[in-house]
């Protein structure tokens, strides 16, 4: 399994980014996180599981409750941060390529 790739996929989802934002300020239980979303509780649990699996979130037992908090070390890894930057350039260059292909066809006419 490619862990780095999974972290990219994890932050590509807007709900998961919102979860990261929520727990960035304080550790929260799954229930408290879920109460911030209209989404069904099992869907939020699935997101939490994905974020935990790729190390963006850490779980910590506090009494009977399990708290989720941000794994700052992982978040700091520049690779995760630069993926949206790469995608931005990739889209821009895809556009360049398609526009220049059209241009090429027009020149041949």
């Amino acid at each position: 399994m490619n862990l780095r790739r999974d972290a990219f996929q994890a932050i590509a989802d807007p709900t998961r980014r919102a979860i990261l934002l929520l727990v960035a300020s304080q550790a929260m239980t799954a229930g408290a996180i879920a109460s911030n979303f209209d989404t069904a509780r099992p869907t939020v649990s699935k997101h939490l599981q994905i974020l935990t699996e790729c190390d963006l979130l850490k779980q910590e037992q506090n009494g009977r409750e399990m708290y989720y908090h941000l794994n700052a070390g992982k978040m700091k890894e520049i690779a995760e941060f630069i993926e949206p930057f790469r995608q931005m350039w990739d889209e821009r260059f895809n556009k360049l390529e398609s526009i220049m292909k059209d241009y090429q066809l027009k020149q041949k006419e």
Partner: protein, 154 residues
């Protein structure tokens, strides 16, 4: 599948490399950077000025969905047809310092080419901030969405 666009950014450095292979002959790739009409199309910007020569300057203006205008400008230091462009790049009205861009164009075959952008920033911290802009925008979008969901609830 191998990614067509690659970013190489080493930790703690004030520079980065963006590389991309194109299914385009070298002259067409280069042209995409030198003709105002083409730049406007692929960059999605208005070109106010584009002097594609040594000591030339350029000025772009984009409008965001809210109608705010954002200016970009720079000067061209080196210009070699189908080979290289060295230029500065400045985002107007932002705290970001001017950056230096070395664009190298390379023919791989008659119909394919490669662009290497070597971008040098004033500091490693500024580079990291700029690298994180699209990520931060994603977070902000998620945040705004979250806020609208929460405001609907109350």
């Amino acid at each position: 599948m191998e990614q067509k666009t690659k970013i190489h950014a080493e930790e703690g450095r004030q520079e980065l490399l963006i590389t991309r292979q194109f299914d385009l002959p070298i002259d067409l790739l280069f042209k995409a950077y030198t003709e105002a009409e083409l730049v406007e199309q692929w960059m999605g910007t208005k070109v106010l000025k584009l002097e594609s020569n040594k000591h030339g300057a350029y000025q772009f203006e984009t409008s965001d969905p809210k109608g705010n205008k954002h200016g970009f400008n720079g000067v061209i230091h080196e210009f070699e047809l189908n080979r290289k462009i060295t230029r500065t790049f400045e985002m107007e009205n932002t705290p970001f310092a001017v950056q230096l861009e070395y664009l190298d164009f390379e023919a791989l075959s008659d119909s394919t080419s490669k662009l290497t952008m070597h971008v040098v920033y004033k500091s490693a911290a500024i580079r990291d901030q700029i690298l994180q802009l699209p990520f931060a925008q994603g977070i902000n979008m998620a945040h705004n969405r979250l806020e609208s969901i929460l405001s609907k609830k109350s």
